[in-house]
Amino acid sequence: MSNVFGKFKPYNTIIHRLDPRLKFFALIALMVMCFLPYGNYANRFIVLGVLALIIVVIMIIAKINPVSIFSSLKSLWVMMIFLLIIFVFVQQGVDTSSLHPMIIFPNGYTLYWEGLLQTLHVFLRLILMLCLTLILTSTTAPMDITYALDWYLYPLKLIKFPTQIVTMIISLALRFIPTLLDESQKIMKAQKSRGVDYNRGFISKKIKSITTLIIPLLVSCFSRSVELSLAMDARGYDPYGKRTSYKILKFHVRDLVSLFVTLLIMSLFIMACAYSSFYPGADNILKLLFGVEAF
């Protein structure tokens, strides 16, 4: 349980200390950067490579082991194989004249290099996005994420949207995740003692096994929420009432610097994107920079 992927680890690095609002912004910004069009494959890999480098550096500063993402998410590999099958074996559009054949079967069915590249490309994007999310969740206390969200929802307040209710719901959900995880472990142990095997059996049996966990968990969730609402009520919680906030977020100099760095990185990527779309015929960034001819 302690090794839940992306769980907040309270170290005291600069990344941990940054303002959650800034981290939130940087996360979204860099994610968008992953998805900008950068022209041909060579460009795409160069740009994503640079991005990966930046992300790895951030991870090292934040004391997150970059390799851990592969070991803790085994399903990533399943995803990789799945993508490979789709992209390599499924034909890439109608016009195949510009593609580079990899293997040509005797019956004329052709596998293209582009399929492989596309798989790698999508996979890389996916991993980068996972890493970005991982950085946010493991360096920011769940509550701080909620505060940041509350801040970003501020414009909605102006149109009388009850944002404080939304953030309260999210923060309560975050608060109860560990409690419910613990509870589900207990229920599973109790059911195992009654002969349930959660790992084996066919689908129908598995569904049955899962219900032995889900139903008790739901029942306990309901009783917990009733008690929780009483406790909140007793302490004078009024969802529409005016509340003050114990925790306030302060924007420090380091946050300002980081914001500047984020914006700088963003503009670099946007330039790369603009370059490759304004000069669609142009070769690649590598050539622009170093005069080297690639792929």
């Binding site: 302690s2 207990k186 109790a190 195992k192 003692s193 002969g195 029942v219």
Partner: protein, 300 residues
């Protein structure tokens, strides 16, 4: 003759985490068939972890737990070694953890949280069916065990969620004893009940014990230990510190050392001793003896 045995049992919690620690350290115990055992120790002493090795919910990191001929350990080499001289049937039996779980019934703290079926009867039938009983057979044993725990027949088709707390707990216990385990393990069976509920549950456990089953209870409740157990196992900081009888434990001065709660009667006797009560205060285990001794000393 022992029925459960642990040998050099150590369990490391969160082995992969840098902050891992020993939840159990080098435990050697033997529990005899037909015993009524209480395992005590303050929160975090490892008592719940220990009993969970008895039906393989937790595997010892090193050393092993043995229930009759079933070996429980995460050390594959050790298990192979242990099974080397055993017969073919035993080796085959050891492959299926269900065989062990049928033998060792485990009632967790707040067992009412494991109920999930539409009717009480179905819920009690669930365990026996998992352990391979046919429907009719399972129904038969379920009815029998529901009657044993004192749930009237009119309740059988009701939803378990309509019951009161104490009733739910009895249904949950029926769900375990329906598989007729030889060993019944209960983790804090009286937690959260009112005095009446406690009495009912303990009377039930006593009745089950009298049918010849081994009963093992993990508890904080020293009155329960005093009134029911014939053996007490004391754990402290993941280590085994004492295996004794309740009377010996409470008449010794060790309770404070293990930060265990002292039953009120012994607290009172200790107070009398400290205040220089001039009378024989040794070997008193119930109120009536205490009264007699007090009157003796006061010459009434």
């Amino acid at each position: 003759m022992w029925q459960i045995k642990t040998k050099n049992l150590t369990y490391i919690y969160d082995k992969k985490d840098p902050n891992h620690y020993d939840a159990l350290s080098n435990i050697d115990i033997e529990i005899n068939k037909g015993d009524f055992v209480c395992i005590v120790g303050k929160t975090g002493s490892g008592k719940s972890t220990l009993v969970q090795t008895f039906n393989s919910l937790i595997l010892p990191s090193t050393g092993y737990t043995q229930v009759e001929t079933f070996y429980i350990t995460s050390d594959k080499k050790l298990k192979k070694e242990l099974l080397k001289n055993e017969s073919k049937e035993v080796i085959e039996d050891n492959k299926h953890v269900a065989n062990l779980r049928k033998k060792v019934g485990m009632v967790f703290q707040f067992p009412e949280y494991q109920l999930f079926s539409e009717t009480i009867l179905k819920d009690v039938m669930f365990g026996p069916k998992n352990f391979g009983m046919r429907d009719e057979e399972a129904k038969e044993v379920a009815i029998k065990s529901l009657k044993e725990v004192g749930i009237p027949e009119s309740y059988f088709e009701r939803s378990p969620f309509e019951l009161s707390g104490g009733e739910k707990r009895r249904v949950a216990i029926a769900g375990i004893i329906a598989s007729s385990p030889d060993i019944l393990v209960l983790d804090e069976p009286t937690a959260g009940l009112d005095p009446n509920g406690k009495k009912e549950i303990m009377a039930l456990v006593k009745k089950i014990h009298e049918t010849g089953k081994t009963v093992i209870i993990v508890t904080h409740d020293m009155d329960l230990v005093l009134n029911f157990a014939n053996t007490v196992i004391v754990l402290s900081d993941a280590k085994l510190v004492e295996v004794t009888t309740p009377k010996e434990l409470f008449n010794s001065d060790n309770l404070n050392k293990y930060s265990l709660e002292i039953p009120t009667i012994y607290k009172f006797i200790n107070l009398l001793k400290n205040k220089g009560f001039a009378g024989n205060l040794n070997e008193i285990n119930d109120i009536d003896t205490l009264i007699d001794r007090i009157c003796e000393a006061q010459n009434v």
